[in-house]
Symmetry: none
DNA sequence: AATGAATGAGCGTTCATTCAT
DNA sequence: TATGAATGAACGCTCATTCAT
């Protein structure tokens, strides 16, 4: 809901059909250019060339390049949400199976060119672009909530904050695979083993971690033993 | 001396003291610009401005921008190697304590502005720049070997390949914290909890993981038990 | 139409009337700069200044400087062809009168600033620029054919190859006046006398030269006499 | 003598042996660069590189690039004078043989890379550089005098001015071969035939031309006959 | 004598943007 | 809606020259 509201604040320019087609073409081309050539090649000229039109027309539909970036980003992240939803929201799964599914889906997705490239670029762009930082933040927030739901179910002893911490850890652990095991990355071939290892480790963690361990009472426990 | 060797042929310019100082100033400025303003602002003009000199002089010392990038990257990554070595190479530590130390050092380092920003930029740049990709690859290879040594000691049942898989998983899990828990990142405040969680989880994993679990025989084992 | 064909694929930019005007202005300015300031001053900035516009706009119409050079050169040489054609293709001239006309036209043309400067620059540029060398070659080939036709008519004893040799000699003899008797050149004042001398000498040569003399049988003839 | 005086006005910098060696090296390198790469590549940097030293040192010996150009040009043209002198000043030649020798020497020289390239560059540079124009002027003046001496001997009926006109025509006719029959020029292969043709034509002209023909009284003479 | 260092100007080119058509 | 045209700023790089060493 909140997502929809945020999105409605960025209504695409162009109201009737033909305009929408053009805008779609621009956005698709922009997506392709970003993935295939990187942020440094993400220029109106290349986007125009990739969408078979002239620079002026791209500027006409997106008077500021910033607008294009923002709408593109929203579309891309919405798309990820949808994919995750439709693939994980299967009714007859146990919580553990559902968590395993999320892990597998995420890591397999990271293996794809699109995701490998896109998110490494976004993490960098987020360093100096507040809008991108905000959208990426919101995106992962939803991921954490998603994972958190299952963690809470698997491990009822955890407080909501502990749940979030565990979900954040699980998510970050997986995302960390991107620059190393993603598409054409050095250890791409090890992704299957890493998927098995991550599933084992993260499901085990979600099920067995205690609030005390998160709170850092380990030293105390060790001392008392 | 050894540093020069590690530079693998990328001789640093500057023969006179004054020239060396200037080269230092350029490299420092370049580093600062990259961290503070990002890759899109990493231009000779901004580097020159940041180092109080004229563009032509930067070009004099680094005739190709590529040379500056390469030397800067080599020095930055060498520096990380040295820091890690000096901080972890303490003699009177158990293997578990040493692994914990690495985890803490890495994650604390990730919390720093320099590391948070630098590595997110490098991961993005590596997408379309072979040289950067190669250097980043080599850097993490050393990290994996480093972690792998301890994993092997903690868990002698693992084959060398299993050891590498576990080290890769540990490293990637930690690196994944960068875009989320790093400097000025959304969940920066949760880094202490994540450090505890990661220490607990990753040390436990290193000590208890079995070759069969890495090989994906989990289902079978579970069924037979 | 035929002009466009001769352009051999070098389509002139500028679709709208305004653009065509601008392209004309750029080409005129480029021509002027080359003639008035020489090849070393033939820069986009000076061409832009001379045509009252900004560098970016010159680059917009001629994305590569090379394109500007090529189109400019083609137009200039085409123009020379046309002038020669229209001035010499008069029906009621004897072959000798036609040859004399060509000689006078060429040498008078050489006296002009435009031709004096342009061709000395082109000969130099052709030393290290294959495109220019090729176009200049083709241009003189047409001149040789042109002169050759008349030589063949004047001196039917000559083989086609001899005709070409004589035409080449006549053309080169005249072109040699450029650096010495051309516009503002040291012996500019002697051009009228040289025109008379050249007419006399070259027409006489065309009419009286024998294949044996071209073949170098002079020594034999001398010996037999 | 006058040449020597002019030259003495451009004393080379550097008085003792080592300096002279360096200056020679620079001048040789400059010569090579001009011939091999053309005027557009005639930069201090390339000259320094070609002479195995640093830019600063070239600038030290020739504080202005202009000085280098001037001294280089004087040396080059002096050298041509000397070559011509030593090759033509053979005592036991008839005037006709001496003229033929000059023609052959000039055209053969034009066939060489050095001369082909150098003089085409000089003619262009002379368009916008008064010093070069002056030196080239003086150089050809000597050539004309040289040829004029023989023309006067062959054809005593000619006035001094007529002699100069004929010498100028002969010289220009030969120089005109440079851009067409010189080194790597389109009709290079035809140079032998052109040498024969030029010898025949120019010697004939020198011997038979009359003052009236030079004065343009041809039509009148023809009418009266 | 020789060179490393530094400068200011200029090079061809690309960029996002504006505007008239 | 779409695009050709135009601009001003910036890009990496090369230039001749100056100066301290």
């Amino acid at each position: 809901m909140e997502v929809a509201t945020q999105h409605s604040g960025n209504l695409r320019p162009g109201t009737y059909a033909r305009g929408t087609e053009t805008v779609d073409a621009i956005l698709n081309a922009a997506h392709t250019v970003l993935i295939e050539e990187g942020a440094s090649a993400f220029t109106l000229r290349r986007i125009a060339a990739a969408s078979g039109m002239k620079v002026g027309n791209v500027s006409y539909h997106f008077p500021r390049k910033e607008m294009l970036v923002q709408i593109l980003l929203d579309e891309m992240l919405d798309n990820y949400d949808k994919i995750l939803e439709t693939r994980v929201r299967q009714p007859d799964l146990s919580d553990e199976e559902r968590l395993r599914l999320i892990i597998v889906i995420c890591l397999e997705d990271i293996s794809g060119k699109r995701t490998t490239r896109l998110f490494t670029e976004l993490w960098a762009l987020a360093n100096h672009n507040g809008f991108i930082a905000g959208r990426v933040h919101a995106f992962y927030q939803r991921i954490h909530d998603f994972i958190g739901e299952i963690v809470a179910a698997l491990n009822p002893a955890l407080s909501p904050d502990d749940v979030h911490t565990v979900a954040l850890y699980i998510s970050a652990s997986m995302e960390g695979a991107t620059p190393f095991l993603g598409f054409e990355k050095p250890w791409e071939a090890k992704m299957p083993a890493i998927i098995r290892l991550a599933s084992h480790a993260l499901i085990g963690l979600a099920k067995t971690i205690t609030p005390a361990e998160i709170a850092g009472l380990r030293a105390h426990v060790a001392a008392s033993s």
